[in-house]
């Protein structure tokens, strides 16, 4: 199995507070990998460090063979085209309609004809379970669940190999959340995606994740499959997975 993401000994310090003190984890190709942990443990921070939104204090992160620490500008740009990121609140561009949001990376990065872009946008909209007639609506006119789906469609626009999801099912109703899980599994098998997600949704964790890393107390408390997680003596793990 090929390692897609290698996080080695990563340290993060905010002003006077140590957030990560030597994190190590490996994400393999084709996996759905979960980052779990109590609030404020730095899951989203780690995710932001992986997608180069935030600098880390020490150690190294390697993604798709690129070392993020001293990555060149054009390599970084190449890397950014190979991943998709879904933010917690969607982060759709509010001045563009849903269809324009999805079409934007296609227009910027490819030489496709407008007709072909339309086709792709329509396909992605259907794929994530939105309706074509919603395509002209603006982000301020749609519900939270629709925003998430539209944002997922946008992150899939370029057919990335790697997908980062920040709490994909938070704020969704249970039915949409399960649909979302099913969608993620389907996309993984169809497009051969590797998915890294931060999640709090137990159902979604058990349904989708292959392997997890649990960050607690600045370190990785556990990395591996879910079947063995409860054997770890850790307060968060015991509380979180109790009753499952």
């Amino acid at each position: 199995m090929k390692a897609i993401i290698k996080v080695r000994n990563v340290k993060t310090i905010f002003e006077h507070r140590v957030v990560h003190d030597g994190l190590n984890l490996t994400v393999n190709q084709g996996e759905i990998y979960g980052l779990l942990g109590p609030s404020g443990c730095g899951k989203t921070t780690l995710l932001r460090e992986m997608v180069m939104l935030q600098k880390f204090g020490g150690g190294s992160i390697e993604i798709l063979g690129y070392n993020l620490e001293n990555i060149r500008q054009d390599d970084a740009q190449k890397l950014r085209r190979q991943w998709g990121v879904l933010f917690q609140a969607g982060a759709l561009f509010s001045s563009l309609s849903i269809a324009e949001n999805i079409a934007l990376p296609l227009q910027e990065y490819t030489d496709l004809s407008p007709k072909m872009i339309d086709e792709i946008v329509k396909f992605k909209i259907n794929l994530v379970g939105l309706k074509c007639r919603d395509a002209l609506l603006y982000p301020s006119q749609i519900s939270g669940g629709m925003k998430k789906k539209a944002a997922l469609a946008r992150s899939l626009a370029m057919d990335p190999k790697l997908l980062f999801l920040d709490e994909p099912t938070s704020g969704l109703d249970p039915i949409s959340a399960r649909d979302f899980d099913a969608l993620i599994l389907k996309l993984r098998s169809l497009l051969g995606l590797t998915i890294v997600m931060v999640s709090h949704d137990l159902k979604s964790i058990y349904d989708t994740l292959d392997r997890v890393a649990i960050i607690d107390n600045k370190k990785i408390a556990y990395e591996g499959t879910l079947s063995e997680v409860t054997s770890v003596q850790n307060e968060f793990i015991q509380t979180f997975f109790r009753g499952v």
């Binding site: 509010s94 001045s95 269809a99 296609l106 990065y109 490819t110 030489d111 496709l112 004809s113 072909m116 339309d118 086709e119 792709i120 946008v121 329509k122 396909f123 992605k124 909209i125 259907n126 794929l127 309706k131 074509c132 007639r133 395509a135 002209l136 603006y138 982000p139 301020s140 899939l156 370029m158 057919d159 098998s189 169809l190 497009l191 051969g192």
Partner: protein
């Protein structure tokens, strides 16, 4: 990674399209051109060969699907050779999703009449909103006057510091420079007539009565009015205003009134500072350029500049402050649920408040002249 290319073989009216490597979104246009360059009318059957293809992304799958449909509509037989399960699956997926009815609608074009109507209606509604805003504000104002202890003195003091005291430096500097420039320009003209001493009359009246209030108002509108809009607009986007309402805090009492009152109290003080600095600037030029000593300047100042000019200038302050603060806050409340609207409304707030201040000043000018003040 192996090289990706498309080989086309045309033997006996049978076309073979040999895809190899990876077929991704970046190659769609290139392959499309390659295939289009063939005259399809003489072809009887097309075989699409994916046996050497490693990866087919969804954009490419859509392209293949469209191509197959195209061939079918031209009655050309087509076949697909593919061994990889994933590729077959993505083609199936595209086929399935394509059957879903519906098209992405395009924004309908608007006629000029429609645009004029919409703009008129929008402006009319904005006027109504502004009136309702004023109404609600006066209502809250009246309520807060009913009980003295409900006035939020702490917030008023905080806003006075934020929007007025911190603006002192820039207002002082601007006024000083304006005093300097006006004096310098007129000194040249006055020297021609030997009317040097009249610079005192001119500066005294123009600065105290008109320039200081206007400059102060413009600086405050640009500095504090825009800040009001941005602050309240951001609070609206993050639903803080809604949260306040649900907790029973009236945003008008908490956010609107303190800002308006603070600015109305602080504006006369700012104008006073502006008066001092403007006259100082003029005095400096008079001394250097026209050889009028500060003693002579001040002596003449007392003789010719009546106190009413000073009081008129100061009295304009609260009116200007009211206009700037209400327009700034009103624009903040008009911010909609998207990020662009903050910028739009901040711009509007500054432009509108400066315009309102100038109109108000003109009205004062006419009124005072007619009242012979």
């Amino acid at each position: 990674m192996t090289a990706s290319f498309l080989t086309i073989n045309n033997v006996n009216k049978k076309l073979t399209l040999n895809f190899s490597g990876e077929f991704t979104v970046y190659l769609v246009t290139k392959y499309h051109k390659q295939i289009e360059s063939i005259n399809l009318s003489k072809i009887e059957s097309v075989s699409i060969d994916f046996s050497e293809l490693e990866l087919l992304d969804t954009a490419a799958a859509i392209f293949i699907n469209t191509l197959q449909k195209n061939l079918q509509s031209k009655n050309i037989q087509n076949s697909l050779i593919c061994h990889k399960q994933e590729i077959v699956e993505s083609l199936e997926l595209v086929k399935k999703e394509k059957q879903v009815a519906g098209k992405i609608p395009h924004t309908p074009k608007q006629s000029y009449l429609e645009i004029i109507g919409k703009v008129t209606h929008k402006n009319y509604m904005e006027l109504l909103y502004f009136l309702s805003f004023l109404g609600e504000m006066f209502h809250t104002h009246a309520q807060s006057l009913k009980s003295f202890k409900d006035i939020r003195f702490k917030e008023i003091a905080f806003e006075m510091n934020e929007s007025a005291i911190k603006a002192l430096g820039i207002i002082a500097l601007t006024s000083f420079l304006i005093g300097l420039v006006v004096a310098y320009q007129s000194a040249y003209q006055l020297k021609l007539y030997g009317a040097n001493i009249f610079i005192v009359d001119m500066l005294g009246i123009s600065i105290l009565r008109e320039l200081a209030p206007l400059i102060t108002a413009i600086v405050v509108a640009g500095r504090s009015g825009s800040a009001f809009t941005a602050q309240i607009g951001a609070m609206k986007i993050t639903q803080e205003l809604d949260a306040m309402r649900t907790m029973g805090f009236d945003p008008y009492a908490f956010l609107v009134l303190p800002r308006i009152l603070a600015l109305m109290i602080a504006m006369p003080i700012l104008i006073f500072v502006s008066d001092i600095m403007g006259v100082l600037g003029g005095m400096l030029v008079a001394n250097l350029d026209l050889q009028i000593t500060p003693e002579l300047f001040l002596d003449r100042f007392q003789d010719v500049v009546a106190a009413k000019h000073f009081f008129i200038g100061i009295a304009k302050g609260p009116f200007f402050a009211f206009l700037i603060a209400t327009i700034g806050i009103y624009r903040g409340l008009m911010v909609k649920d998207d990020t662009q609207s903050i910028g739009f409304n901040t711009t509007k707030s500054v432009v509108e408040s400066i315009f309102a201040v100038i109109v108000c000043d003109a009205i004062f000018s006419i009124a005072f002249t007619n009242l012979k003040i």
